[in-house]
């Protein structure tokens, strides 16, 4: 999604001179589609995320649309107060682009695992929060939201080749995209966990359980109407996310069920403990934290039995 983001932004920048790309010294082999084409509008601020976001506030006040790029932990956590007191407080079109949701930087350890970024961004009123499931949806999401009047947080994956089956690059703000039909249980997925959700659905099918899978790519403003409509038809919904279960999609869906008074039960598949220092591949870590396709399938089967 990183490279797709950069090339999409470069396309937009041809026609709109307000677009700037700032980076906290990250984006090797990712941002070149933009930086090669617009060297004057590409600003490496150095390893200084707080300053990057603070600057973006000053740039946006003067009419620019700055995109602030870093690994999602640094872009969201290190700069959080600058995001809150800057673009959110001033309602300015600053874009925070966090790369590597969940365990995508698997071998790099906890410092590189954004597990709370969506929660932190989602609780800020006025912040649009987007977590695409694949690179095609990332492109559609950037095209649909880059010029929003207020701030936007993008949680982007690293993968620029894997397509989520059934998604076909669809994106609409405040909508949920259904990518697989099924009548027994509804899986609601965020970001690249859509792939784990689809894998779980295939395993469940072998056990005779028909699982629908949907992608929730807009976390704020929430796609409440779609969520309520979809969940009304199922006895069980399961959220699947590479994020702590508190704050992210699991919380959003729990809030939606409670506020709409739905009878649907909820199973939240996500991260429940602080990673203990054992690192490994993304697949290994999904397994360790119970969000692999197999484990999600097992949890859902148990909840339905």
């Amino acid at each position: 999604m990183r490279r797709t983001f950069a090339s999409t932004l470069a396309e937009l920048a041809v026609d709109d001179e307000r677009i700037l790309l700032l980076t906290g010294d990250l984006g090797y082999m990712a941002l070149e589609p933009f930086s090669d084409r617009f060297p004057r509008r590409f600003i490496n601020v150095g390893v200084a995320e707080q300053n990057m976001v603070g600057m973006a506030t000053g740039l946006a006040e003067a009419g620019f649309v700055p995109f602030c790029y870093s690994i999602a932990t640094f872009a969201s956590l290190r700069a959080y107060e600058m995001i809150r007191n800057g673009p959110i407080a001033h309602d300015l079109p600053v874009r925070i682009v966090g790369v590597g949701g969940g365990f995508e930087y698997g071998h790099n350890g906890l410092s590189h695992y954004p597990l709370e970024d969506v929660g932190l961004m989602r609780i800020q009123p006025g912040m649009t929060v987007i977590a695409p499931a694949d690179f095609e949806q990332a492109r559609a999401a950037v095209l649909a939201t880059w010029d929003n009047p207020g701030p936007v947080y993008y949680r982007l994956g690293k993968d620029d080749t894997t397509k989520v089956a059934g998604l076909d690059g669809r994106f609409e703000t405040e909508r949920v995209q259904l990518i697989r039909p099924g009548s027994d249980v509804l899986l609601l997925t965020m970001g690249t966990a859509a792939i784990d959700g689809l894998g779980a659905a295939e395993r469940l099918q072998e056990a005779g359980i028909e699982a629908a899978v949907a992608v929730v790519a807009t976390l704020s403003p929430p796609p409440t109407d779609d969520l309520v409509r979809l969940m009304s038809g199922y006895p069980l919904a399961a959220t699947v996310e590479a994020h702590y279960v508190n704050g992210g999609l699991g919380s959003l869906v729990a809030e939606t069920i409670a506020e709409a008074g739905l009878s649907c039960r909820l199973l939240r598949c996500g991260v429940r403990t602080t990673p203990d220092g054992h690192s490994g591949s993304q697949g290994y870590l999904h397994g360790l934290h119970g969000i692999s396709a197999e484990q999600v399938g097992t949890q859902i089967a148990a909840a339905l039995s």
Binding site: V45, N51, G54, T57, G58, E61, A62, G63, F64, P66
Partner: protein
């Protein structure tokens, strides 16, 4: 008119609202007035081409309200809502107030905003300048130095920082909390054109900003030596005036003192 008018407003409004932060506002009164009376190019606070001002030490905002009022951009009625219910004139700047460019309050944020503002002017080919007022203790914040590095590396010559060196911070003297001595040298080491000035001499402040012998292209910092509570002898250098509101008796003495020092 001079900064004594700013000081009178600071004292009267603090009394009316029964709130503190008086010492800090008095400390920057001359700096803020020098900027608004002689330096900032602002024909209309809504003009996109105006100079920008970031009050990074937001807790001294009453000096800014006073300057905006004296410039005619903030009515007496509005000023009299300072620190009242339902006002936009709180104890830190709010950008929804006409004439206030940025909301601040969390120290260490303003110089970054200023860098962005100055860079925006350069990218747009605009001659507008950006001024940022920092407190000395604000330089405890690491983010200030992130911004300092950026401004020097990118030679933001349209950016001016002024540091209110009153030597005090919330719980003590800066020399006892985190020593800030040789402040101008610190900024020079970061690549800035740094100059020590008397922070209570508007001529020096305005002159330092206008001076022609400077190295072109470097961001500038004025290290402005100030006295906390300046102009009111019983407040000068006294930490408690970061917190305390002022009594009727104290107000009378303070206003007398401010009038006597008026130029």
């Amino acid at each position: 008119m001079d900064a004594s008018a700013v000081r009178r407003i600071i004292l009267e409004q603090s009394k009316r609202a029964n709130v503190g932060h008086i010492g800090s506002a008095l400390s920057v009164a001359d700096i803020v007035w020098a900027l608004y009376d002689r330096v900032l190019r602002i024909s209309d606070p809504a003009d996109p081409e105006r100079d920008r001002f970031v009050m990074s030490k937001g807790h001294a905002v009453l000096a800014l309200y006073a300057a905006l009022h004296l410039r005619g951009w903030l009515s007496a009625e509005e000023l009299n809502t300072y620190a009242a219910d339902a006002t936009l004139l709180g104890m830190h700047p709010e950008h929804r107030v006409a004439g206030i460019d940025f909301s601040t309050g969390s120290l260490g944020h303003g110089l970054s905003i200023g860098c962005g503002s100055a860079l925006a002017a350069r990218l747009s080919g605009s001659p507008r300048r950006t001024f940022v007022l920092l407190s000395d203790a604000e330089c405890n914040e690491g983010s200030v130095w992130e911004a300092a590095m950026f401004a020097a590396h990118h030679r933001l010559g349209n950016l001016v920082a002024v540091i209110d060196m009153n030597g005090q911070q919330a719980l003590g003297y800066t020399r006892d909390v985190l020593d800030l001595s040789s402040m101008a040298d610190r900024w020079r080491a970061f690549g800035w054109d740094a100059q020590d000035v008397d922070g209570h001499d508007p001529d020096q402040i305005a002159g330092a900003i206008a001076r022609s012998d400077r190295v072109e292209g470097l961001p500038r910092v004025l290290v402005a030596e100030t006295v906390f509570g300046k102009g009111v002898p019983f407040m000068e250098g006294e930490l408690r005036w970061h917190y305390l509101p002022i009594s009727d008796e104290e107000l009378a003495v303070a206003l007398d003192a401010v009038s006597e020092t008026a130029v």
